[in-house]
Amino acid sequence: MIHKTIFFLTLILLCSLVVSAQSLLEELEQEPDTLSITEQATFKGTRLINGHSVETDGEGVLSFLISHRFGRLNEGAYEFFGLDDSNIRLGLEYGLTDRLNVGIGRSSFEKVIDAFIKYQLIRQQSGGKVVPLSLTVFSSMAINTLRSQLPERELNFRYRVDYTYQLLLARKFSSRLSLQLMPTWLHRNLVAKADMENDLYVLGMGGRYKLSKRVALNLEYYYRLNAEAEEDFYYNPIAIGFDIETGGHVFQLQLTNARAMIEEGFLSETSGDFFSGDIHFGFNISRVFQLK
């Protein structure tokens, strides 16, 4: 009996060996996966909606960004639901390496000039070496260049500058779903009222869901952690948008309560209440040029 069992076990072992020797392709496919694959395209663009995504432009890529936010939808038909009024930011970004990007921009909102640097520290990987998240660090500087209302009291330059530091943590859960967390520290050299904090801490969260190969739905929300003193006139920015990709362009259409298109502006100066209709329609268009 025992002999028989051993015989059949050996036979089964043999059979399995013969089967595995049948096809070379099967032999290859049965091997454990040791290859590390870096995730690509966690998001379509370098912006989620208002804020940045973990994505960076590749080395030698110059991208030109045109962003608009129109007036409020609840201004009604006379203002053509906000479209009569437009707020614009023009920006240029460049990929010094695949991971390191720099950019500048100029917004019509408060005539702000901004500059940023962005570095992709960790990239999500699967396969042999598993890295569960992508991490990008971001820092920007914004300079308000509005003329003083009182010419005899011109603002000292340092009171015009604000700084933003962000960690962008993202995971591509599937080819459709990606989520991102954005812990942010915003330092304002000058605040509007004495009881406001110079340092504002914000936790942002957002994500995208791909509806088709070229269209994605994005959501973005920033929760301002220590903004009690300004709660009555400034709100947490909310945005919902669509990315439409056409090759060298990404069109981003969005609805948001924020007017500004840079961190310093939408985090600290969003004056619209999304849920009472203070919503701005807007878009970002990027065009990339490969310089290298």
Partner: protein, 180 residues
């Protein structure tokens, strides 16, 4: 009973003798080139896996699509996301036989005949190539055209990077013997 066991073990040994005729890649390059009106597109991949059986002339390879490297990051992204859909179809595969392979010759022209799978579509193909035998193994080279439409790869008219309807695939494999 013991006789059966001995017989079985002998058979087992027999199988491993056959397997000793197999070769694996020590070095490989799969590349493709597309000559398009707006700009040429080139990509390289050094992560192919392959087994070649010198006894039977059988050959199989697996090429991970995400490991194709392009000069331009955006092209690579579009290639994976939109054209090859590599999340869904991670590998290109070939399984077939070198039809007129003769293990006594040092240099010979052969035709690889078998099934090529790309983007979830499998097609029977015949690819002419060269096999060079040297003391440490084999070197195989082949260049063949692949029609994008044959593999259900759709390229919309709107795209920024114009892509040719046919790409030229180049394969360069270096094989070494291995013991499984």
């Amino acid at each position: 009973m013991t006789k059966y066991l001995i017989f079985t073990w002998l058979l087992l040994c027999g199988t491993s003798v056959v397997q000793a005729q197999k070769y694996r890649l020590s070095d490989s390059e799969v590349s493709f080139y597309s000559d398009a009106p707006l700009e040429d597109i080139e990509a390289y991949n050094a992560e192919a896996k392959s087994i070649f059986d010198a006894e039977t002339g059988e050959i199989a390879f697996v090429v991970p699509i995400k490991k194709f490297e392009f000069k331009k990051a955006l092209m690579q992204e579009h290639f994976n996301e939109n054209y090859l859909e590599s999340d869904q179809y991670p590998n290109a595969k070939f399984e077939g036989k070198l039809k007129n392979f003769n293990s006594d010759k040092t240099v010979q022209e052969v035709v690889a005949s078998g099934k090529l799978s790309i983007h979830g579509v499998t097609r029977q193909i015949e690819v002419p190539g060269t096999v060079r035998q040297h003391p440490s193994g084999f070197e195989m080279k082949a260049t063949f055209p692949v029609k994008v439409a044959d593999y259900d790869i759709k390229i919309p008219k709107m795209v920024f990077y114009n892509i040719a309807e046919e790409v030229e695939v180049r394969v360069n494999f270096q094989y070494q013997p291995y013991d499984p």
